[in-house]
């Protein structure tokens, strides 16, 4: 439409998920259908070591610049084997406990559960991930 770029805003499901996440004390991240990190709620920002306003949206291929994600024994994990990657690529929930080092340099052992957001007609619009510290903390 003239003067209107299609998808001038995020998919409504993502908008509602973000609104929901913004009210939670549980750490939550959101990606869009391409795997771009589009939102971290306040609780989740602790993992990043910076606020989301500071780091902004992060394409999937640039996650590693901000987060070092490994198995607990230190083995690197490819993106497609992360809970978020599985939810995105295989469209199913996934769960894993792993070690994440954020921008602040601190290593955290986190349990992460991710699930795909499917809108009508099985349209994948993104992924929601929740996590908590494996020792029982809240991220």
């Amino acid at each position: 439409l003239s003067g209107v770029e299609h998808r001038a805003h995020k998919n409504l499901v993502l908008i509602l998920a973000r609104e929901f996440a913004s009210k939670l004390a549980t750490p939550v991240f959101l990606t869009d259908e391409a795997g771009t990190l589009v939102y971290l709620n306040e609780a989740a920002e602790r993992m990043a070591g910076r606020t989301f306003a500071e780091i902004g949206e992060i394409p999937a291929e640039e996650w590693s610049e901000f987060f070092q994600i490994r198995e607990l024994d230190g083995t690197p994990i490819p993106l497609e084997r992360l809970p978020g990657g599985i939810a995105l690529l295989e469209r199913r929930p996934a769960h894993h406990t792993l070690a994440v080092t954020g921008v602040d340099g601190r290593r955290r052992e986190l349990s992460i559960t991710a699930f795909p957001l499917l809108a009508h007609r099985d349209e994948l619009v993104g992924v929601v991930g929740i996590y908590w510290e494996a020792d029982g903390g809240s991220g």
Binding site: L1, S2, G3, V4, E5, H6, R7, A8, H9, K10, N11, L12, V13, I15, L16, R18, E19, F20, S22, K23, L118, A119, H120, R121, D122, E123
Partner: protein, 304 residues
Amino acid sequence: LRATIWGCRGSLAAPGPETVAYGGNTSCVELELADGSVVVLDAGTGIRALGLEMAKRPPAPIHLCLTHLHLDHLEGLGFFLPLWTQGAELHIWGPASAIESLDNRIARYMSPPLFPVQLSEVPSQITFHDVSDEEWRLGSARVLAEAVAHRGPTVGYRFEEGDVSLAYIPDHEPYLGEDEPASLDPAWLSGYGVAREATVLMHDAQYFDEEYAERMGWGHSSFSHAVEFARAARVGELVLFHHDPLHTDADLRRLEAQARRQWPSADPAPRLAREGMQLELGTDADDDLSGPAVSGFEPSLTPP
């Protein structure tokens, strides 16, 4: 592009002496496109009188675009005369659902025990369409439908002809849970793509601010949120729609006055939708940038 409002009440029809100025019929807006095509937005009780008017015209395909299937947007369908006219061609558009087809969902209303006759018994030729994720054409208009924040599958519509555009989002709660609406990035604003820089926006403004505080999450906007949404979308003119059934004409005048005080520019100020209101968009070759022309008419009072 001419828009005629046949119903702008929300939630429940509210006829009576205290609602005669703005009308008691629920949502229904008729669009007459440049090529003569007719589009009907929603099938609230206002569609009954529209159907009587249409019966006086030569037969032509009718496109009925439903924003969603809540009863105040659907309950007039069973009393829409073209539905009961042998050979009438009716296209019904509505939001897709992951659960059930559009015709099956509408048939829930048009079937016993809620309605005496089943949808499968109507004599007109009905074709059901899930609205597309991409823009499409109806007659001479380009149409965009996008999901908006309201309970259940719900879309807002945008119709464009030439340089003019009408955005119709009668049920919408874009700032649910948002503490600072004015600071919200439009990329995260429900309905923005439909409303952006529209010549005219018809938008939900069901509540006074103090009422909204007690009805948050019900899927509707306060007038302040409607004003803020229109400002964020930089629309040309805001028409306040979906009046609460408990609001009298006097209440609505007060709501309009408060909305105008919040409007960032003096002209054209927000105004209330009312039954019989007609808006002409793009009547001049150069477009009337001062706002659409408005006239009124008396809806038919003849029962079907």
